[in-house]
């Protein structure tokens, strides 16, 4: 009886041992985020300040350039993630349709997935800067008549360069996140619908796509949160005004006056709040998926 009992106890402990390292690391992550947000409320124990104040948030929200930055960041990340979602669905469907081999997926998905955002910036600057390859082509075709007529990718207020960088990266990401599920759903239910006479477009829109909704929502949220909070791309390609929120926050963070940090952290707090809403939606999707798994069983 004894060894059996020992084994049972061991089995019960195992999962907790398996998740401990992840919990510690995620704990550090959450600590960092919460600590930052608290600094935005003026709580900086390392400077001996422990009183909660809303001053920094009020001050931040009253600044006109902050609202402009918030709008700009939202515009960039919403536009790029909606377009990335659409592009990702098309790419994923195309891969499913041709029943892409691993090699094919490697080229279409893995290469962009493993190219750093900064390198993508470099590509697009070579192509679309004022004297880049694309304006040269337009010049040869006689569409523009001088250097500098083409709106450069760097510093444009429309942010089309930033959006383009995100699309180059995130369309394959959305496909990476959904292609496996889509292939599975399509071979299981999509083909059944087609055998029963549905056109391939109809079977895609009314069978395959709805069944992939969960994965697509999750991919969208991840892409949104990333493009909303990333620093590199808007720093390199964004206009002087308005600055994207992360760029503005880091600018304030670098201020030699350390009390100014609270101000940076208030901006971070606003970013975190918006991303928390995205996280909440993600959580709800997970819950729904769990319920569906249960009814499947």
């Amino acid at each position: 009886m004894k060894p059996l009992q020992a084994r049972r106890i061991r089995q019960r402990i195992t999962p907790y041992l398996l998740v401990t390292p992840t919990i510690i690391l995620v704990g550090v992550f959450v600590y960092g985020v919460v600590n930052g947000v608290l600094q935005g409320f003026g709580i900086m124990p390392f400077l001996g300040r422990t009183e909660l104040t809303l001053d920094y948030y009020i001050e931040a929200l009253n600044r006109r350039d902050l609202i402009a930055s918030l709008n700009y960041s939202l515009y960039i990340s919403l536009t790029s993630s909606v377009l990335a979602l659409i592009g990702g669905i098309v790419l994923s469907a195309a891969l499913t349709r041709v029943q892409a081999s691993r090699r094919r997926q490697l080229l279409n998905i893995q290469i962009p997935l493993m190219t750093a955002h900064t390198i993508v910036v470099l590509f697009l600057v070579s192509l679309f800067a004022g004297s880049g390859l694309f304006p040269r082509l337009l010049f040869w075709l006689g569409v523009i008549d001088d250097v500098g007529v083409f709106p450069s990718i760097i510093g444009g207020a429309s942010g089309w360069g930033i959006i383009l960088v995100y699309l180059w990266k995130e369309i394959p990401f959305v496909a990476f996140y959904t292609a496996t599920i889509m292939m599975h759903v399509s071979s299981r239910y999509g083909e059944a619908a087609e055998t029963l006479g549905a056109s391939s477009l109809r079977s895609f829109f009314s069978v395959t796509l709805p069944l992939c909704k969960g994965a697509l929502t999750k991919a969208f949220l991840i892409v949104f949160a990333f493009s909303f909070g990333a620093y590199e791309v808007p720093f390199l390609l964004g206009p002087t005004l308005p600055k994207a929120l992360p760029v503005l926050a880091y600018l304030e963070f670098q201020n030699p006056d350390i009390l100014n940090r609270s101000y940076a952290m208030a901006i971070n707090g606003i970013m975190a709040l918006i991303c928390c809403i995205a996280a909440l939606v993600y959580f709800l999707v997970l819950q729904k998926e769990r319920k569906e798994r249960k009814t499947d069983e």
Binding site: P15, L18, V19, P21, T22, L25, V26, V28, F29, Y31, G32, V33, N35, G36, V37, V90, L91, A94, R97, V98, A100, L107, N108, I111, M114, A116, T118, V121, L122, F123, L124, V125, S126, S131, L133, P135, R136, L137, W140, I154, W168, Y177, T180, E194, T195, S200, G229, A230, E232, A249, Y250, F253, A264, N268, C275, C276, A278, A279, L286, R290
Partner: protein
């Protein structure tokens, strides 16, 4: 017209009707496959063309407006990069070391977490599932600025270890996503067989679990390697300028006027990620197929 009639006739017998449907389905698919194929090729061009431009620019000596092709080639960019003054060898070594360390740490931790999620029931499982994707959803800029104080106090700021730890935290969701899929696909069947046949847990792990999960382990590791290699902001804040990686060193050059130097950096960066990626792919072909087919066969 004729075809439809024939199918209608054929469907008199259920078996022949089924075959006809299958044939129709096949024809149906072929007619749409070229659209998908065309799209995939266009997408591939969008991926590969910029890579070609980087290679071209890094060997270009002069490429004045509005020429469509470079006028003079030279190896100035790469020579300057690797001149002893720049100390690029050291930076490159450090970047690779950090990325490999992160890949190892993150993959091991993710493998454990994925196993717990796939095969065990434990308290707070759904919360854990959600918590493990948090670094996906909350921007790493917010985390980086918030955690800086803690890392300074813990003596981890400005150290390689601190940078590895921070990179591991933000790459963990990717690794868990990849490992989760592979772990569920592998299942527990073979492992239980080995245990029933009397293999010790250690032996089961080494001879059954690891070979079975190897494809996932390798693809998670290469993914994490690339994420770590590409980090700019996090490395800058935690490494504080003392820990130099290729991503932080090349950053100021990206939008500078000297496109030859910028592209040379880009080329070295791409090579450092591609070489490791294809090394992992090679390993995957070498080991994974052989071992797993041995077990499945």
């Amino acid at each position: 017209m004729n075809e439809g009639k024939q199918i209608a006739e054929d469907s008199n017998s259920p078996q022949r009707g089924h075959a006809a449907h299958k044939q129709l389905l096949k024809k149906h698919r072929r007619s749409h496959a070229w659209v998908s194929g065309f799209f995939l090729i266009v997408h591939l061009l969008c991926i590969l063309m910029p890579l070609g431009i980087i290679v071209t620019w890094s060997f270009t000596a002069s490429w004045p407006w509005p020429e469509l092709l470079p006028q003079e080639f030279s190896s100035r960019g790469l020579v300057e990069l690797f001149s002893p003054r720049q100390g690029l060898g050291l930076v490159l070594g450090q970047s690779v070391g950090i990325a490999l360390g992160t890949a190892l740490l993150s993959t091991v931790i993710a493998t454990c977490a994925a196993r717990a999620l796939a095969f065990h029931d434990f308290f707070g499982k759904e919360l854990f599932r959600f918590a493990s994707v948090l670094p996906f959803l909350i921007p790493s800029t917010v985390f980086a600025m918030g955690i800086q104080v803690l890392f300074i106090r813990a003596g981890l700021a400005n150290t390689v270890l601190g940078v590895i730890l921070a990179h591991t935290i933000v790459s963990l969701p990717y690794a868990i996503a990849i490992m989760g899929e592979v772990t569920i696909a592998a299942g527990m069947r073979l492992e239980q067989q080995a245990r029933v046949l009397g293999a010790s847990p250690l032996r089961t792990c080494l001879h059954v679990q690891v070979p079975q999960l190897l494809p996932g382990i390798l693809s998670a590791a290469s993914m994490v390697y690339i994420i770590s290699f590409s980090q700019y902001f996090l490395t800058l804040l935690i490494g504080g300028g003392a820990v130099k990686t290729l991503a932080t060193v090349m950053f100021p050059f990206l939008t500078s006027g000297d496109r030859t130097i910028a592209s040379a950096y880009g080329l070295v960066f791409l090579l450092a990620t591609l070489v490791v990626f294809f090394l992992f792919e090679l390993l995957l072909k070498r080991f994974a197929n052989r071992e797993v087919s041995y077990f499945e066969g």
